[in-house]
């Protein structure tokens, strides 16, 4: 007998199904209800997100709660300009379809969070990022995804706005020079919940067939 074979995982089996349930309902939300989100819940989401993995335990995530109406208006104008520039680059028919999509919730979302990576952090002493330095930004992406899943589990919606000029967005947020913008997030209660991505429902894109995504070597 091999006693080590009796090893059992710590996590309860139901948690796998619960996680899949959260993943099923996690959407990129652009249509928010104006209802406020409890500040204590926002604080919990921010601390849960810091349980994310990070290269060398560098924890390079930095969060900016965007509350000022003036800064919000600047970010909204930034999105609108870049969104129109993107629409203008498509062929007319696709451009028309693009303009029919709603691609940010900056107009209504009660909570708006800009997430940065501190490129100058010495935490972690550089471990793990010598040949793949981009793992620092990737660590912040995992914190964002953690926040997204926690928000979904709490019944909230999150939308990631990437249609922005990142330089001018960073400038208007007045953050330290070493901070690089990773995402601007909208958080709030969604107008509706769905298991199907909005871009799929509106016919912009379909799910990739699983075959072809996995190869063996």
């Amino acid at each position: 007998m091999h006693p080590e074979r009796e090893w059992k995982p710590v996590i309860v089996p139901e948690s796998f199904d619960q996680l899949v349930e959260i993943l099923k309902w996690r959407r990129d939300v652009r249509r928010f209800r104006p209802d406020p989100v409890d500040a204590e819940l926002v604080g919990r989401l921010l601390s849960v997100s810091q349980m994310a993995p990070s290269v060398g335990y560098s924890q390079p995530w930095r969060f900016v709660l965007v509350e000022s109406e003036q800064v919000r208006a600047e970010l909204r104008a930034n999105f609108e300009a870049e969104n129109e520039a993107a629409a203008a680059e498509f062929e007319p028919e696709l451009g028309g379809k693009y303009r029919g999509l709603k691609l940010s919730g900056l107009d209504v979302a009660p909570v708006q969070i800009a997430v940065f990576c501190d490129m100058a952090t010495t935490t972690g002493k550089g471990l793990g990022k010598r040949t793949m330095a981009e793992t620092l930004q990737y660590s912040v992406v995992m914190a964002i995804h953690t926040l997204w899943l926690a928000a979904t589990a709490a019944g909230l919606g999150v939308g990631w706005v990437s249609i922005l000029d990142p330089e001018s967005a960073t400038r208007c947020l007045e953050v330290p020079e070493s901070w690089t913008l990773i995402a601007l997030l909208c958080v709030g209660y969604a107008e509706e919940q769905s298991q199907v991505p909005e871009l799929e429902r509106l016919g912009w894109e379909k799910a990739e067939p699983a075959a072809g995504l996995v190869v063996r070597r």
Copy 2:
């Protein structure tokens, strides 16, 4: 009365606590048991990971199951060379401490998965990545993180190996030219489970104080 105020989230409240439980036990694992992982479970992890968000619904993740002993040996040698090069760059005392860490499970992990981003995919029609093109790679990072959490919930450990020369790792995996390496993952049953990162337990780095990570604008 405002009937819309009665809106309730679809997700059950316990799922938040279950998610936090998974996050607590999710570690970067470098010490694996040699026990095999059921192939059907590996397949489930790969399909669950594809529920991750992606910019413009581009789904740019590509997975390579590394099974050949020869390719595994090449990747191990790649890691060993880069790990020694990293150690040599530290001051002697820190270098000694670094050499005492175990930073990859490539020696024992029964499942090894290289994860790539297809930079040339047209899926998503470029939506959302015109000004922040790196969101394509970030989408793959969220798929990796999804796989990591699903593995944790299934009682498995995952380790992200980034101490690699990505170009030669990519070359030996013989993937299409448009694929960029995001991560090499080790997957298997961990020798031990812990709620504390190994780099913290071994005194390499500490948790960041939460104050200072969140600012308001």
